[in-house]
């Protein structure tokens, strides 16, 4: 059977490739596949300001996109060698499972079910988020527990939709659910007044508020009703790749903690005496080899993508239109949750 099946596989692949359409064959060894094809296959959101957006020329940016770029920098030495696949919420896990992409970095909430029952592994949390409500100011609502009877716009098939239902149920309130498939539709529904309230992750609400015709006409309520740890996801069963993604991200966090930035990394590399920094930059120890990567993998990440703080500032923080405070996403020593295990 296996011989027969592999022959049919080859045949069908050949037919499809001849048909001129790209069917790719990946094996369980994602690292060497990535090396040989020369780019990282990354699944991102179809468009969410601050997380992953394409500009007019099709160039992607965002805090989720930076994770992919970091992996590309670590593996291939060039952060631009990423092939982005924009995915809807429905397709995202299938795309990863089938090997269409190798990293899913698409504001995906880490839950037990997803981690344990879908054959996936979450490689970290690049953004700690929580669900909140945005309302039209004209409604005069100050607090989420005044929302009884409101029509709420929500994206369907997300954890958000479930949190919404359980929040209202647990507070003995009723609501009218208006659900849409994409973030854009939700925003349009809210803006046109189809619903008076919109709920989503707090960061998304900030992002979407900035794109409204009249941002000042809306207000985001202070309550956070859920935990939404968002992070990159990889397939189960390829631990080498899992480690690479996990530690590429950790390198960004650790770099911020140690004060290494894209600006000073060259100088530090030449002058530093700090053994911790030396290990991160590959001047000491065998950290790169452990990951099956080159010695300067983390250097490449910091040089080309920047540390976590830089990425945050540029995409969602004060350097961006979103202006989201660090909050839970501050370094652990500043009272946040971003904490890289030691580079030892």
């Amino acid at each position: 059977m296996s011989k027969f099946s592999s022959r049919i596989t080859k045949l069908s692949v050949a037919v499809l490739t001849i048909a001129g359409l790209t069917a790719s064959v990946a094996s369980a060894d994602t690292l060497s596949d990535t090396m040989s094809q020369g780019y990282v296959k990354c699944g991102v959101n179809t468009g969410l300001p601050g997380f992953s957006v394409a500009d007019q020329t099709g160039k992607w940016s965002g805090i989720d996109v930076d994770v992919c770029r970091a992996v590309a920098a670590a593996v291939l030495g060039d952060a631009s060698k990423v092939k982005y696949t924009p995915l809807t919420a429905k397709e995202r896990f299938t795309a990863l499972q089938s090997g269409e992409i190798d990293i899913l970095s698409r504001n995906t909430t880490w839950t037990e079910t997803r981690d344990a029952s879908l054959g996936l592994n979450f490689a970290g949390v690049n953004f700690y988020d929580g669900q909140a409500f945005m309302v039209h100011k004209s409604l005069g609502v100050k607090n989420a527990n005044e929302l009884n009877g409101a029509a709420v716009c929500v994206q369907s098939g997300t954890t958000t939709e479930l949190n919404l239902a359980s929040y209202f149920a647990s507070h003995g309130m009723k609501y009218k659910s208006v659900s849409y498939d994409t973030t854009d539709q939700v925003r349009n529904g809210y803006e046109s007044g189809r619903c008076g309230v919109m709920t989503s992750d707090s960061s998304q609400l900030h992002a979407l508020q900035s794109t409204l015709k009249n941002p000042a006409g809306s207000v985001i309520l202070p309550q956070i009703i859920s935990k939404e740890p968002l992070g990159p996801v990889v397939r189960q069963g390829d631990d080498v790749w899992f480690n690479i993604v996990k530690w590429s991200y950790n390198a960004m966090v650790a770099a911020e903690e140690r004060g290494i930035t894209s600006k000073n990394v060259d100088k530090l590399k030449a002058t530093t005496k700090d053994p911790a920094i030396k290990r991160i930059l590959g001047l000491e120890g065998r950290l790169g080899e452990n990951l099956h990567l080159k010695k300067d993998w983390a250097y490449n990440i910091i040089k080309q993508v920047g540390n976590y703080g830089e990425s945050y500032y540029r995409n969602v923080g004060m350097g961006s239109p979103l202006k989201i405070k660090r909050g839970l996403n501050a370094q652990w020593k500043d009272g946040g949750l971003q904490y890289s295990p030691p580079f030892k």
Partner: protein
């Protein structure tokens, strides 16, 4: 040996054998792969998920629903909503299509042109585009609840939908419904009797006027018998929006409008070509044996035109039913939206959920096809 191969029958067997081997091998191949993939990726299987709590809200539901209900109930609501929106749109599209089809043969030049342009315009615009246009442009331009268009303080239209007074389900409404049913049953038997009488005596019996008359009188009678009290619940503004009355949601309205306008063009075409296909000789023959215009229409032209028109019209009903799945683009909670959409996203068991969805359409379509075949059989010209 070669001669044996040249036998057409033998070659047929061999060819079929090869084909069936390929099909079975292919199915086996994807079956093995799928089960292997499911096992390896740790994807859950089976239909247990139907009994677990859905946890999300559906607003526009014909039966009671809360977020603590199960996925099985979501599935049911999806089917019901598909049927409701298709049913309403089919009725409206038939009426509109009939009118346009008949008028497009009118002798009035302007009316004819107007009807032709309607068909030419809307038949050539993708139905999904029409749905989005109704939803994102037409209904979006309506005012917000607080500035609703107000008709006599009873009916309200705003960007959350259309609100009308809703009669309570009491003795009055029930007796009206019962009386209408009774009239239909009565007309059915009356018609049978009239047909038999006609075969026997050749005399006509005016079933149609009597039927229409009864349909007007019976509900009025029913209204008074039932206690003459509708006990309307009126919509009124409260809190964030309207409460009370019956609400038609913008999603429902835009889907219905778009499907109606799109499908009516095809129905109009079917009606028109049906009537055109009845040859002129038939009309002249009908006139020459002294039938009146109405008699000619009823006894000669329509029976023949209908035989041609009805099969394509029923096919359009099927298309409309399938097109109602486009609701997923605007979020009307029919089966594709709530089951193949939201539920699939929550549960992730694609194979079970997509198959169940397809099965629903399969069952509906095949029953309609069976009905269509039965009609075709009934309407076949009986050659003796």
């Amino acid at each position: 040996m070669l001669a044996f191969l040249r036998d057409r029958k033998v070659r047929g067997y061999i060819f079929q054998l090869i084909t069936i081997t390929f099909v079975v091998a292919f199915l086996w191949y994807i079956g093995v792969n799928t089960s292997h993939n499911i096992e390896q990726r740790g994807i859950r299987t089976g239909f247990d998920f139907l009994n677990s709590t859905a946890g999300f809200g559906i607003d526009d539901s014909p039966i009671s629903y809360t977020s603590s209900d199960t996925y099985a109930r979501v599935f049911l609501i999806g089917i019901l909503n598909t049927l409701i929106v298709s049913f309403v749109a089919i009725i409206l599209a038939t009426i509109l299509g009939l009118i346009v089809g008949v008028l497009s043969l009118s002798k009035n030049w302007l009316i004819k042109k107007l009807m032709n342009s309607y068909v030419e315009i809307f038949i050539n615009i993708p139905v999904l585009l029409q749905i989005l246009f109704w939803y994102n442009v037409v209904l979006r331009s309506l005012p917000s609840p607080r500035g609703s268009l107000d008709f006599f303080g009873k009916i309200f239209i705003n960007n959350r939908g259309v609100y009308i007074p809703k009669p309570a389900l009491n003795s009055t409404t029930i007796s009206i419904i019962v009386s209408v049913f009774a009239v239909f049953i009565f007309i059915y038997f009356l018609n049978n009797w009239a047909n038999k009488r006609k075969e026997r005596t050749g005399e006509d019996f005016a079933v149609l006027p009597i039927g229409i008359g009864l349909l007007v009188v019976a509900p009025i009678l029913g209204y008074f018998i039932g206690g003459a009290n509708f006990d309307f619940s009126y919509p009124h503004l409260q809190g964030f929006g309207f409460v009370g009355g019956k609400q038609y949601y913008p999603e429902f309205i835009s889907l219905t409008m778009a499907l109606t306008v799109f499908t009516a063009t095809f129905i109009a075409e079917a009606v028109r070509s049906g009537i055109e296909a009845v040859s002129k000789g038939q009309k002249e023959a009908a006139a020459s044996i002294g039938l009146s215009h109405y008699q000619a229409l009823k006894l000669v032209i329509l029976p023949q035109a209908l035989r041609i028109s009805i099969p394509p019209i029923i096919n359009q009903y099927l298309n409309l039913l399938k097109n109602s799945s486009l609701a997923t683009a605007i979020g009307y909670p029919e089966i594709v939206t709530v089951f193949a959409g939201t539920t699939l996203n929550q549960v992730g068991q694609a194979i079970e959920i997509i198959s169940m969805t397809m099965l629903v359409y399969l069952v509906i379509s095949l029953s309609v096809s069976a009905f269509l075949n039965w009609i075709n059989f009934k309407m076949k010209i009986k050659e003796r």
